[in-house]
């Protein structure tokens, strides 16, 4: 018997991921889709690097943007030097510069932050984040002040015929780095350090009594994580051709926390899902409504309360049921819940959008939905939307109760079968 058989499922998954990266820009055409996909790629890398801290090492960081942001700042200056002809290097290798910069600051700041775990770590990371953010205004020579530092990614000789001017070429650059980063970070979870990071997360005291300096484990984990954060920062610098204070801000640090949590902290692939959803909110929804942050916040709170394992846990929960062939029993309850959820969403969106129209100066208060126009200054739409929301909530409650009952029966049956 071979101890480590070729893990077929794993190969299929990774090949599928590579295939998705390859064909995604052709499935969703248009400049907008490409913008979103490119941002998804950088965000996936960023969220995965964040989860090396939160999920794998048990370190809640409020300042992870420091590493991606400073990686981006260093990258933008290197890119500008290349533009001046000071030296040359192939553009596809530039993310390495960002990575090394991230790693450098990881060593510098991580030495301080990882001295402690838990709440103290979280607070120090917050402090370092604020400190770096303050530096942006204090040292405009390097950080470019409020305007930031802009650049031009088309420099020097084309690399293998690629100039990286067209957005599609940038997408594939991001895709390749994102895929490599995913593979590398997954591989890291399978190393002695990766496993001991889990051990230190779960029971730091015992880890010390089997020979491990928990502080050093946290430090190395953070340094490796900030390398990948730096790579993602460099990719966003290449993509947007500008780096500003937003790149190192607490908003960015909070964003990656939200994305990672929504996706699922306990699972390696969780942050990938989270980054995709977050990018959807951030890029797509923000074009439609100014309330996108409110929707994202509501979604985040819902996940924290009802699904602390994130989207990934919701998906993984279904597998035993599917394997046992019992998924048909859940189809109707799920469909009902989804329907009720849509009604809730309709009522909620109606109310929120009307509120925004009223509070915004100079905006038209007339909204049009499915060819129907109504004025937010009149009372009837409020009553209608309120009624829709209330009805939806009642229906959702009933549907969720049905889901819960069916789910409970199936789980009991499965447990009875599992017990000898």
């Amino acid at each position: 018997m071979k101890y480590a058989p070729l893990n077929l499922g794993r190969w299929v998954l990774w090949s599928a991921a590579a295939l998705v990266f390859l064909v995604a820009p052709h499935l969703f055409s248009g400049g907008f889709a490409l913008t979103m996909l490119t941002q998804m790629g950088t965000l996936i890398l960023f969220a995965l690097s964040y989860n090396m801290l939160l999920g794998q090492g048990g370190m809640l960081s409020f300042g992870h943007a420091v590493y991606s942001g400073l990686g981006a700042y260093v990258t933008v200056h290197v890119l500008n030097l290349m533009g001046k002809g000071s030296f040359t290097m192939p553009l596809p290798l530039l993310p390495l510069v960002g990575g090394v910069a991230g790693l450098f600051f990881g060593v510098l700041f991580g030495y301080v932050t990882t001295k402690r775990a838990g709440t103290t770590f979280a607070l120090i990371s917050l402090g370092i984040g604020e400190m770096v953010f303050a530096c942006v205004r204090m040292f405009p020579g390097f950080f470019g002040g409020e305007a930031g530092v802009s650049t031009n990614r088309v420099v020097g000789q084309p690399f293998l015929g690629l100039t990286f001017g067209p957005a599609l070429q940038v997408y594939y650059l991001v895709a390749v780095w994102c895929f490599l980063g995913m593979a590398a970070m997954f591989a890291l979870t399978q190393t002695p350090l990766g496993r001991m990071a889990n051990a230190v997360r779960d029971n730091p005291e015992r880890a010390e009594f089997v020979g491990y300096n928990t502080q050093h484990v946290r430090f190395l984990q953070l340094v490796l994580s900030s390398f990948f954060a730096g790579v993602s920062g460099a990719l966003s610098c290449i993509n947007f051709e500008i780096v500003s204070e937003e790149n190192v801000s607490a908003i960015r640090s909070g964003g990656v926390l939200v994305a990672t949590f929504i996706g699922g902290v306990p699972f390696f692939f969780g942050p990938i899902l989270g980054a995709i959803v977050f990018a959807f909110f951030f890029v797509a929804l923000s074009g439609f409504t100014k309330a996108w942050l409110l929707y994202l916040g509501l979604f985040f709170v819902l996940m924290v309360v009802y699904a602390p394992g994130g989207i990934a846990s919701l998906i993984l929960m279904q597998f035993p049921v599917i394997r046992a062939g019992r998924w048909r029993e859940l189809l109707v309850p799920y469909a009902l819940a989804a329907l009720a959820g849509l009604v809730v969403l309709a009522g909620l969106i109606g109310l929120v959008e009307m509120m925004y129209r009223l509070s915004e100066q100079g905006a038209s208060t007339v909204l049009t939905v499915l060819g129907l126009s109504f004025d937010a200054r009149s009372a009837p739409p409020w009553f209608v939307m309120g009624a829709v929301l209330a009805a939806g909530l009642a229906a959702l409650r009933a549907a969720m109760r049905l889901v819960g009952e069916r789910w409970g029966t199936i789980q009991l049956d499965l447990q009875a079968k599992a017990a000898p």
Partner: protein
Amino acid sequence: MKNAIELQEVHKSFGTTKIIHGVSLDIRDGERHAIIGPNGAGKSTLFNLISGRYEVSAGRILLHGAAITNLRPFEINRKGLSRSFQVTNIFHNMTVFENIRCGVLWSAGYRYSFWHRVGGLKDVRLRAEEVMQRIGLAKRRNVPAGTLTYAEQRALEIGVTIAGGASVILLDEPTSGMSRTETAQVVELVRSITQGKTLVMVEHDMGVGFNLADRISVLVYGEVLATGTPEEIRGNPAVQEAYLGALRKETAHA
């Protein structure tokens, strides 16, 4: 005979409360040494001082002749001393195999490596499997530690402790909370795993202490009342007066 552990006038106080008053104790190389004493005598505190969990207030502790006073737990562990805990202290989310592997990795030399694939380390796997065999958990290899029975968790606790191959083993009440049969099994387990090693164990169960130990130290109110072979301790009037008598009274009432 050489000493594995030497305590020289070790004191420990928490604030103004003195727990350990000048304990001097030699643990000989290769012996099984039990530390017995009534509740609150400072047995566990003594363990925490030796293993680096607490800092000593005064005095010196030597391991194989070299000072380990106030070193950190991982430094003491790397010098070849490993300990278990009275309250089970394992990695609850990990499987039995992963728990044991955590105990093996450092001593196998993989340290903080992020360039080895942990699943491919044959020496680590073989060692972990050997340990699982010895503690009787080979069949529970892939069970999460949190779902094991209490007796199994206690065995795993010992497994994690011995996995690194330390030459000096400290076991803190390995039989606490166990039934008669389970206790007998643990005694046999401890006897087999400490062959050729130095064992120091805190024991509340007198039977276990007298059965397993080559020598016994009696700790009362933070001081060593007597040290000697089980026969010497049984025949020691001071011990009988201060401890065994009191215990006999305790059990007579119970």
